[in-house]
């Protein structure tokens, strides 16, 4: 039987920075070029981690590359991000990270001190997250061909029992939980570049969110419909992806969304929307209405979860869109991130 030729919808002549920014352009690239050529047989929408069955055992698997500039910033560094990022992608797909392999792409001329500091940061982050680093690979490219260092981490994880998440399971009335204040990471990186003469007391929120995920899984396992860590593109992009994948409307209440003053101030000055700013230590969960209270309580009791809140709910309308109700009873749509306001943040 003849197989159909894969349908490639990506028609843009060249790759722009926006294709890596996690917003609309990234989605077009993945859905229009990678998906039809590489995983045409895959079922359903693309999540943060793939679920694979080996000899009857289901595992979660994910990979992520880190190209952040500068390498070190208040609250973290590329090495720490590289571990936490992969641990978090597994966590929000309902899995505990078990093992990670690492690839380093290093630029000739990179000082050993810088490399050592990042390797140490990775070791500490892995220990804190309880994940084993099982192996790795190193490549070196000519000076000037990479920005000091890039790191890729690939992780496998064991699925938590009783947690089955998918956008299709999301129902009107479900609540949207957020683990804490948004925008800390993106704004920290922006300020750490030193291109703006703005200073603020702010640290990246990079951390493993697994303990928080585990706490709501225990409190409301079967009631968790969907989870995502809102990294590049921020909360707005993650929730728009959900809205499109499930076809329903997401309605957020602006006053409920926690944003630190320093982040708000920087966003006001620069004309950015905190909902589009990247996070590295927060996650979103959609939980069935009758279990949302228990889930929130469990999150708030868990270490690092005291600032968790319910920021909105799922409704039938506006279909496939995200709407924010403003403080005054007005409303506005929130779209995915378009373009790339803050390049290379992770």
């Amino acid at each position: 039987m003849a197989t159909l030729a894969p349908k490639i919808k990506f028609r843009e002549p060249q790759i722009e920075m926006a294709h890596g920014a996690g917003g609309k352009a990234s989605r077009r690239l993945v859905e229009g070029l990678f998906a039809p050529l590489l995983f045409a047989g895959a079922q359903g929408p693309l999540g943060d981690a793939a679920h694979i069955q080996i000899n009857g055992t289901r595992i979660a698997m994910t990979t992520d590359s880190f190209v952040v500039s500068p390498l070190r910033f208040p609250g973290g560094s590329i090495g720490e991000l590289a571990i936490n990022g992969t641990v978090n992608d597994l966590a929000v797909s309902g899995a505990r990270a078990e093992a990670i392999v690492v690839t380093f792409v290093l630029e000739a001329g990179l000082s050993t001190d810088i490399l050592e500091a990042e390797v140490r940061a990775m070791g500490q982050a892995a220990e804190a997250a309880g994940v084993r680093i099982a192996g790795g690979d190193t490549k070196v490219v000519e000076h000037g061909k990479a920005d000091l260092m890039y790191i890729t981490t690939t992780g496998v994880g064991r699925l938590l029992p009783g947690v089955a998440i998918s956008p299709e399971s999301v129902q009107p009335g479900d609540k949207i939980l957020l683990s804490g204040p948004i925008g800390d990471h993106g704004i920290t990186i922006l300020l750490a570049r030193g291109e703006l003469d703005i200073e603020a007391e702010l640290r990246s929120d990079t951390r493993s969110v697994f303990p928080l995920v585990q706490s709501i899984a225990q409190a409301a396992g079967g009631g968790i419909r969907w989870m995502r860590d809102p990294t590049r593109g921020g909360v707005a992009t993650s929730l728009n992806e959900l809205a499109r994948d499930c076809g329903r409307g997401i309605v957020l209440s602006e006053e409920k969304i926690p944003v630190r003053d320093a982040v708000r101030g920087a966003c006001e000055l620069l004309g950015l929307d905190p909902l589009h700013i990247a996070n590295e230590g927060q996650f979103l969960a959609v939980v069935a209405a009758d279990q949302a209270g228990a889930a929130l309580e469990a999150l708030r009791r868990a270490p690092g979860g005291t600032e968790a809140v319910i920021i909105g709910e799922v409704r039938d309308e506006p279909a496939a869109s995200v709407l924010v109700t403003t403080l005054y009873g007005g409303s506005r749509l929130v779209d995915m991130l378009v373009g790339d306001p803050l390049p290379r943040i992770c």
């Binding site: 060249q14 790759i15 722009e16 920075m17 926006a18 609309k24 352009a25 609540k175 291109e195 703006l196 409307g249 309605v251 957020l252 209440s253 409920k256 003053d261 708000r264 101030g265 006001e268 004309g271 319910i310 920021i311 909105g312 709910e313 409704r315 309308e317 506006p318 869109s321 709407l323 109700t325 403003t326 403080l327 005054y328 009873g329 007005g330 409303s331 506005r332 749509l333 929130v334 779209d335 378009v338 373009g339 306001p341």
Partner: protein, 375 residues
């Protein structure tokens, strides 16, 4: 956050909304133009339209510097990047504006040296750091940004920095308002006047609008309460049959403007005899050029630029939208061929452009959603 939260306080906002509903005569239809793109953005972002009665209509004005720049100017500026010794520096909101052969960002992806800067002083810093290169600062904006460009040019001259020049696209707001009032298909009742421009030029330059044209003007701040209060002030004038210039944004705008900024502008710039505006066509004495005394720092006087004139894509109705004759969603391309990601016209690019604001915040206006207070 101080100076922000006070102007977003829900109880004050709802009071202002009530006052607007009380003042608006149900037998009348009010058409009020907010001149500034910054106001347009705030109106959408905070959902202020939902607070106005149906007969108070806001018309988006031409005060978005990126939007009014014709494509030919972008092509001219980018033509300089063909030589490898040039660095093209511009504000972030210029970066995705399409030229004939792509936007500055697309030029950057092809390997041209294109940089985002946050102020002209940053562009000057680039020139100091790269003495073997020539930095062209692509200057845009109304009187809000023109003084900082002027001061940067004065600084470059004082330092004798020769590897820096400005491709000047600065425009002035008054001729644009005049062009809109002269447009026969436009019927307006009053203006929410520009806020940041007025910090520089003050309130006097608007007096002819009130005196000669009989339209009230209220210079307004950018927070939700500022805008609503300005609408209240306009409706009061209209109720009383008055037409004067009022200053709602007193905490920032002095009536006489900023004399030091005006002096810097006068030192460096003179009026161009005419300048082309996207959608509004050629308007005489509506833009600034760099004086001969600073010719060394004027990219146009120092280098050869093609001086191209490019007409906008036929189907795009940017001009009508800029003038407020059409609403963004009435343009044939809106939301189909023209989106923020693949913009055909500049109004879809800048966050201050009315098309981008309309697309991002209310492209498919949902049925009124009950406030999420129950969450």
């Amino acid at each position: 956050m101080k100076y922000v939260d006070e102007f977003r306080a829900p109880e004050l906002i709802s009071k202002a909304g009530e006052e607007i509903r009380r003042l608006a005569d149900p037998k009348r239809h009010y058409r009020i133009m907010e001149v500034c793109g910054g106001h347009t953005h705030a109106i959408y972002r905070f959902g202020l339209k939902d607070l106005l009665p149906e007969n108070v209509e806001l018309i988006h004005g031409p005060g978005c510097p990126v939007c009014v720049l014709p494509m030919g100017r972008i092509d001219d500026g980018l033509s300089l990047t063909a030589e490898p010794e040039f660095i093209f520096a511009a504000f972030g909101d210029m970066m995705r504006v399409p030229g004939t052969h792509g936007s500055p960002l697309e030029y950057k992806a092809r390997g041209m040296d294109v940089r985002i800067v946050y102020s002209p002083a940053d562009a000057l810093k680039l020139a100091r750091l790269n003495p073997q290169k020539h930095v062209v600062f692509f200057a845009i904006g109304f009187e809000t940004t023109a003084p900082s460009t002027a001061l940067t040019i004065i600084r470059a001259k004082a330092e004798g920095l020769r590897n820096f020049s400005v491709f000047c696209n600065h425009v002035t707001i008054i001729p644009a308002i005049r062009a809109i009032l002269d447009s026969p298909d436009m019927r307006l009742d009053g203006f929410v006047g520009p806020g940041h421009v007025s910090t520089v030029i003050g309130c006097r330059p608007y007096e002819w609008i009130a005196k000669d044209q009989g339209k009230p003007v209220v210079v307004s701040g950018f927070e939700p309460l500022d805008i609503l209060q300005s609408i209240v002030m306009l409706l009061r004038q209209l109720r009383d049959g008055q037409a004067i210039v009022e200053n709602q944004y007193k905490r920032v705008v002095p009536w006489e403007g900023n004399p030091a900024a005006l002096r810097a502008m006068a030192e460096v710039f003179e009026l161009r005899p005419y300048f082309e505006w996207r959608g509004l066509g050629f308007i005489s004495q509506s833009a600034l050029k760099i004086r001969a005394a600073y010719a060394e720092w004027d990219s146009e006087q120092r280098f050869t630029v093609p001086g191209v004139r490019v007409t906008d894509p036929k189907a795009a109705q940017c001009g009508e939208v800029l003038k407020g004759v059409l609403k963004p969603s009435q343009c044939k391309l809106f939301g189909r061929e023209c989106t923020p990601e693949q913009p055909v016209g500049a109004l879809m690019v800048s966050s201050e452009g009315s098309c981008a604001a309309h697309y991002n915040y209310s492209q498919h206006r949902p049925v009124t959603i009950a406030a999420a207070a129950s969450l």
